[in-house]
């Protein structure tokens, strides 16, 4: 039998590869998802977030009453410190001016989630730009960006958000989003820059450079996608922080002054005047904020574990 050298090499190669896993194209994301699905921490977190998202989307139909209508106003008495108690048709009672508390909670989830998501997305976008600049170009650009980041990080995040929020003459939901987002930018920038720098010295980037790949392709195809893992994880964790920060701004009166659109932080802020006699008014929005923040934190933590390449099987 005549066999060429190539055939022999081929045969050897086939032998060494026959028992490889058969599915084509399992990317990092897919295999991370497979691990996530079995993680109870992720499932609990995802269930919490999922519930709140569904509620937020369906709240116009779920809410039993108009959240801005003073329908129980006749049961409110400032002088005698009376607030509508839970009653048929109003399972959680009313707030200080007689609006249905349950409806306000349900509709309030919209604002809270929206603020959290937009603030995180804007913060992430800004952080991506700054971090990519610093990590990809290096040199004085890196130094300049990082000093800026240091300055921003030297101010406690809530204080910074409050200061930025206070800069705006007319506070609105948008100024809250902006204030919270700006505070998150340096965290993302520093994180991305760090992982970009690690990528810059990695073997596969050297190998790509040895093939003459252009710098732009090196940055956007070889460095950036490999640096995103920790940033994505941070984003889910930041969502929790953003929601809490936004609630804090509203609580401090830097949020939307129009309280016909309910928002949990603002509800909490309004509840503080009557917290001694009617703690339930503070309890419900606070509980919701905690639950959503917990949900995002759980998902973020499990995502971090799942995306850690060391965990790959």
């Amino acid at each position: 039998m005549v066999t060429t050298r190539k055939e022999r090499v081929d045969a050897l190669a086939r032998m060494s590869t026959d028992d490889r896993e058969g599915e084509a194209g399992v990317s990092l994301a897919v295999s991370a998802w497979r691990r996530l699905r079995r993680n109870p921490v992720f499932l609990v977190g995802a269930a919490i977030i999922g519930t709140f998202v569904v509620v937020a989307l369906l709240s116009p139909w779920l809410a039993p009453h108009d959240p801005s209508e003073w329908m129980l106003a006749d049961q409110v008495s400032k002088a005698r410190n009376e607030i509508p108690p839970p009653q048929p048709g109003h399972p959680l009672g009313g707030d200080q001016v007689g609006r249905d508390l349950l409806s306000r909670l349900l509709v309030g989830s919209q604002q809270t989630l929206m603020v959290g998501v937009f603030a995180t997305v804007i913060g992430l976008g800004g952080g991506l730009v700054l971090g990519t600049l610093a990590g990809a170009i290096g040199g004085w650009v890196d130094s300049a960006v990082m000093r800026l980041v240091d300055v921003m990080l030297s101010i406690p995040s809530l204080l910074a958000a409050v200061s930025i929020g206070a800069l705006f003459a007319r506070p609105s939901q948008f100024t809250v989003i902006l204030a919270v987002a700006i505070v998150q930018i340096p965290i993302f920038a520093r994180l991305l820059r760090g992982s970009m720098l690690a990528q810059r010295n990695s073997d596969h980037v050297l190998a790509a450079r040895a093939l003459g790949v252009r710098p732009r392709a090196i940055v956007f195809r070889h460095m950036l996608p490999n640096s995103l893992g920790p940033v994505i994880v941070q984003a889910t964790l930041v969502l929790a922080v953003a929601i809490i920060d936004a609630a804090a701004l509203s609580f401090l009166g830097l949020g939307n002054p129009d309280d016909s659109v309910p928002e949990w932080g603002q509800m909490l802020g309004n509840a503080q005047t009557v917290i001694d006699s009617h703690p339930n008014l503070a309890f419900w929005p606070a509980g919701c904020i905690i639950a959503v923040a917990l949900g995002f934190t759980l998902v973020g933590e499990s995502l971090r574990d799942a995306l850690d390449p060391k965990n790959r099987r």
Binding site: R5, K6, V9, D10, L12, A13, R14, S16, T17, R20, E21, A24, G25, V26, S27, L28, S202, D203, H204, L206, A207, A208, R209, A210, L211, G212, V213, R214, A217, R221, H222, P225, N226, P309, R312
Partner: protein, 326 residues
């Protein structure tokens, strides 16, 4: 004119506040078209730095490269980064040591192979994909179309190295530098990869610089061997010459420290005593002198020069005379 002529290549790493370190100290060698040249030496002798200097892949800051690297007559060391970028992958290919970490984990094999083709040969994605499948087939990857959609972690170590070789050879470079291409692989896979490399080199007429610490690799593949020690070439000879009659005490020591199947039972291996850290600087004498069994007074005072000796180049005051019992 040789395809690649490296003359007096010197690489000095310099960091502020620290003494400069000379990693490559006046290395000269030439590679003819279609020839396979080995660079052999232990860790830290400057093998990899030499290859990175030829490729223009050393960082610009903190590194001083001098001497000359001529490729087809053109001086590579003075070319602009842009020119070198165009050359890499097209004229000069390189295969690295660790096949897993040398592939981008989040991009499929197909995209990584086509990237080179699109970059240097201006192919469209679909055309490049067809060529990529042929390339993978050529380097002995079975079922190449399916592999194109897969990610590096789904391939075995040997297949990854094959894919990297395919990428390095995609644009038919005139010169391929293989930096310890088999170190991270199992012995059986090593043999396959070496067979593949020698076959491809023969088929395509590509010149190959084989960088390794494994004399067995050299024995099977290289036409000419350069033995490096502490950044300088200490012995250069044709493969058979070198293995039959190593003259430099370092080469001799390397060969005697390899176990041989035909050695008498109970014979002990002879290691080279000391470690690289015992070196003295070349400027004061012979760097190998503190570890050398043949050391003379002179070795500690006078720097040995490269001298022609019996059809080979040798840098030694007192070379080994007797032959290795074959």
């Amino acid at each position: 004119m040789a395809l690649l002529e490296v003359t007096d290549l010197t690489v000095v790493f310099q960091r502020r506040g620290e003494a400069p370190f000379t990693a490559v100290d006046g290395v000269s060698f030439a590679v003819e078209e279609g020839q396979t040249v080995g660079l052999v030496g232990e860790s830290g002798c400057g093998k990899s730095v030499t290859s990175l200097a030829i490729m223009g892949l050393l960082p610009r800051r903190g590194v001083r490269v001098s001497g000359s690297v001529r490729f087809e007559g053109a001086e590579l060391l003075t070319e602009s980064p842009r020119q070198m970028r165009d050359r890499r992958g097209r004229d000069l290919g390189m295969v690295f040591q660790d096949p897993l970490s040398s592939l981008n984990p989040v991009v499929s094999i197909g995209i990584q192979v086509t990237e080179v083709l699109e970059r240097h040969r201006g192919m469209s994605r679909s055309k490049a994909m067809r060529v990529a499948a042929e390339l993978l087939d050529q380097v002995g990857i079975p079922d190449p179309r399916r592999r194109l959609d897969e990610y590096p972690h789904q391939l075995s170590g040997g297949m990854r190295q094959r894919a990297l070789i395919a990428m390095a050879l995609a644009c038919q470079p005139r010169l391929l530098i293989a930096d310890e291409p088999t170190t991270a692989l199992d012995v059986t896979i090593q043999a396959q990869i070496l067979a593949l490399l020698s076959q491809l080199v023969r088929d395509t007429g590509t010149a190959l610089i084989m960088i390794t610490h494994d004399l067995g690799v050299v024995a099977g593949l290289c036409d000419e061997v350069n033995v490096l020690y502490a950044g300088r070439v200490v012995e250069r000879a044709a493969r058979h010459e070198l293995f039959a009659r190593p003259r430099h005490p370092y080469t001799h020591g390397l060969l005697s420290s390899i176990p041989r199947l035909d050695a008498p039972r109970g014979e002990r291996l002879v290691p080279i005593r000391g470690a690289v850290t015992d070196n003295i600087p070349w400027t004061q004498g012979c760097a190998f002198a503190p570890r050398c069994p043949n050391v003379l007074e002179k070795c500690l005072d006078v720097t040995p020069e490269m001298e022609e000796d019996d059809g080979r180049l040798l840098r030694c005051h007192n070379p080994v005379r007797q032959e290795v019992p074959a």
